[in-house]
């Protein structure tokens, strides 16, 4: 079979004749009703003009609505202003487009035409002339004969990358100092928003408290919190915690973490260890904490172990104790680096472990 093909290809015996089927050409042009009937033509003309005039009217109405319709006015539970502006402007633009299409389809000449394709490349003479000029330029610049100049120029351009790297670094802070937060021994755990300290008796089994360190809220006698306003944002994003209470018999603490909770009250970082979303999606019966961003799931009864999702570090736990007045306070800062993971985290964690 392949021999046959080779043979036929080589000999050209089976090649088709130059033009086996005569080019039928274009079919005969057929006329539209608007081409032959003046009444139809006038009707189409009126349609198109009508659309354009209506569009003009809608644009005027847009301006009227812009000033006349109150911004907070409501119509059928929707914003009257949005609807008025949208219908007039959108309707006007739509009518212009429809008018143009109707004009083209009904009235503009629609004779079929043939335009042969031509190659996209420039003509041979043009290409030769350009290459001649380029080669002459290279020759006159002596680049080909003086490689030292060429190489040193390339080197200097390469070195230009160094300043830009340094300048780009200034665009934002590097992810530094994740090893520590504002938590310190004896700092009260307070309810977020209200800033009130919490006693264990105020938390029931199954309860969730979104909490913050007391340093962000004015304490007794203070006019303003120690860290407040703009400077509060970054430390607050790292120090946010949740406090949950489970039945003590449900909790299986790791060695060394037995005294980190109080009667089943545990405190964990609120920041997901995957990419740092705030997590407080707490299922009281399963003891699972879910991240709404990528569905990482932590088992808080089992030391914040990851049981599902892209996170691969357990949720850091904040050790709790009680102060002299019986309020929840931190034993220390987090012993595990909180917040999203980053390339150097293992090295930083080792450093943190050796310090503590």
């Amino acid at each position: 079979m392949s021999d046959d093909l080779d043979k036929s290809g080589r000999d050209g015996e089976n090649l088709p004749a130059a033009d086996p089927i005569a080019d039928p050409g274009l079919p005969e042009h057929q006329w539209r009703p608007t081409d032959v009937d003046p009444a139809q033509e006038r009707r189409a003309e009126r349609q198109v003009t009508g659309m354009f005039l209506t569009a003009a009217l809608l644009f005027v109405l847009f301006v009227v609505a812009y000033f006349a319709v109150e911004v907070d006015a409501i119509i059928f539970d929707y914003s009257a202003s949005n609807i008025a502006l949208g219908v007039t402007l959108g309707g006007g633009l739509l009518l212009i487009g429809m008018g143009i299409i109707q004009w083209a389809k009904k009235l503009m000449a629609d004779h079929e035409m043939v335009e042969m394709r031509h190659p996209a490349a420039s003509s041979k003479e043009d290409r030769e002339a350009v290459m001649k000029d380029i080669n002459a330029g290279i020759e006159e610049s002596t680049l080909g004969r003086r490689p030292m100049i060429r190489n040193s120029l390339l080197l200097s351009l390469g070195a230009l990358a160094a300043p830009s790297v340094v300048l780009l670094r200034d665009l934002g802070p590097l992810p530094y100092d994740q090893e520590s937060t504002v938590w310190e021994p004896g700092m009260r755990v307070v309810n977020d928003v209200s800033g009130l300290p919490i006693r264990p008796s105020e938390i029931e089994v199954g309860q969730l408290v979104n909490a913050q360190p007391a340093i962000f809220f004015p304490q007794d006698g203070e006019e303003e919190a120690e860290i407040s306003g703009h400077s509060q944002l970054a430390p607050k994003a790292k120090a946010a915690v949740i406090v949950v209470r489970m039945r003590p018999e449900d909790i299986t603490p790791e060695a060394g973490k037995e005294n980190w909770g109080i009667d089943g009250i545990l405190c964990f970082s609120k920041i997901c260890t995957h990419v740092g979303c705030p997590i407080s999606l707490w299922e009281r019966q399963t003891h699972h904490l879910l991240c709404p961003c990528h569905q990482s799931t932590y088992d808080l009864a089992d030391n914040g172990k990851v049981i599902f999702g892209p996170a691969h570090r357990p949720l850091p736990q904040l050790p709790l104790m009680l102060d002299s007045e019986g309020y929840l306070v931190a034993q220390s800062d987090f012993l595990d680096i909180q917040g999203p993971s980053y390339p150097e985290i293992a090295r930083h964690q080792e450093k943190l472990d050796s310090e503590s």
Partner: protein, 279 residues
Amino acid sequence: MRTLSTRRRHRLAGPAVLLLGLLAAAAVYAVVQYAVLSPATAETDTVSARDVEAGQELFLVGCASCHGVNAQGIDTRQGGNYGPPLIGVGAASVDFQVGTGRMPMAQSSQQAPRKAPDYTEEETRQLAAYVASLGPGPAIPEERWLDYAAATEEDVTRGGEFFRTNCTACHNSVGAGGALPSGRYAPQLDGVSARHIYQAMLTGPQQMPSFSDEVISPEDKRNVIAYIKAVQDEPSYGGVGGRLGPVVDGIYVWIVGIGGLVLFAIWIGAHGARVKKKS
């Protein structure tokens, strides 16, 4: 009157008179029931021993099969429970679960859905009175903490801060609800009464954590309710078809929006009418 008298022998006259008679009897019954039996509703605010007794009877009929005849719960062999114990869950829990139709459950499933309540207000009150008598638990909240209309704009703002800190993770920032694993979900808060929202925060039904009055004060709970109601009263600035969530909005854009564009493209490309005649 002539019209009536001429039609009195019509074959539908008999049934029509019967229907009128029945309607009149029902109207009289309704008025009598309201007039004679309504004094009972005057006592709704106090829990009497009779309520507890009536509640126990209702409980034995409608709840005991899962929660046990003494509301002690029924354990399964696997160590779970068929119905949890209700001792100490308080009146607020019962009022929420029965008042929103979650209990009695129509079928065993991942989550009890909200549905039309099976018990009347009166029966719900009696059931709550009975369960509350079994052990101390959260009571039905006072009316003044449910009066969200009294909240000032400042209160609503503060309620919004609490809502975004504590509730949005599951219920979405405008209370539209959201999905949880294994077929569970945080329900949307649209159309839930202030009393039921308060009771849900207080008691933590199903997977929802509880938020005790000591940590989030009754006034702050009132403000959270005021925020939820304020958000729900906002007009839909996104226009017709909005507020249904990204999936529905996306389907709308795909079908109506892109579908409309396809129709326009067909119109633009269509070969219009032709005639044989030449001009």
